[in-house]
Amino acid sequence: MTVTVRLFARARDLAGADTLCVELPAGATAADLRRRLAAQCPRLAPLLERSALAVDEEFADEAQPLREGSEIALLPPVSGG
């Protein structure tokens, strides 16, 4: 399956894009996506390690299986306020 990952703040600058498309096997988890993102975009890897993943606007567990069509976002440490 192909999932589209939305990127924000420094993650977007590092990737040079608002979104990244990632090919994953069916049943892949958030942790699998994290590994695939790091391989596909090595510049992202250090920030990725301390970023959260969100699935359908909710923080995702690493073991959470992903579905094609889910809204997935990479959230670097937040700094609002």
Binding site: F8, A9, E57, E58, A73, P76, V78, S79, G80, G81
Partner: protein, 139 residues
Amino acid sequence: MIRLTKEPIDYHALTEAVRLPACGAVVTFLGTVRDLTDGRVTVALDYEAYPGMAEKKMAEIERETRQRWPVGEMMMVHRLGHLDIGEVSVAVAVSCPHRAQAFEACRHAIDRFKELVPIWKKENWADGSTEWVHPGAES
């Protein structure tokens, strides 16, 4: 009520909006753009949000705050876009029957906001460089 906005935050109107006859205490917190961070001079900040999730998390924080304190009304607004020094980036106004509750509820809401809500700021340093702020270990 929660809101993201690109317009300046009218914190007087926000404070008025939470005033109720049953509430003898109103606390309004304002976060404003500071000109110095770790000794470096900032000339402006840019704020960006993941809007859908930010609003969802803000609504959760409102629900959580209302469960723990007898909140009459509360308003939470964050501004997005380019902000100059001294401008208001975030405002939280809370009314409760008594002041201890109002202080605690407002403190809780802004503390949780800073932990949970997917919003990011970018420093515009005086030397012309910019830097996204991602608290924690340097990457």
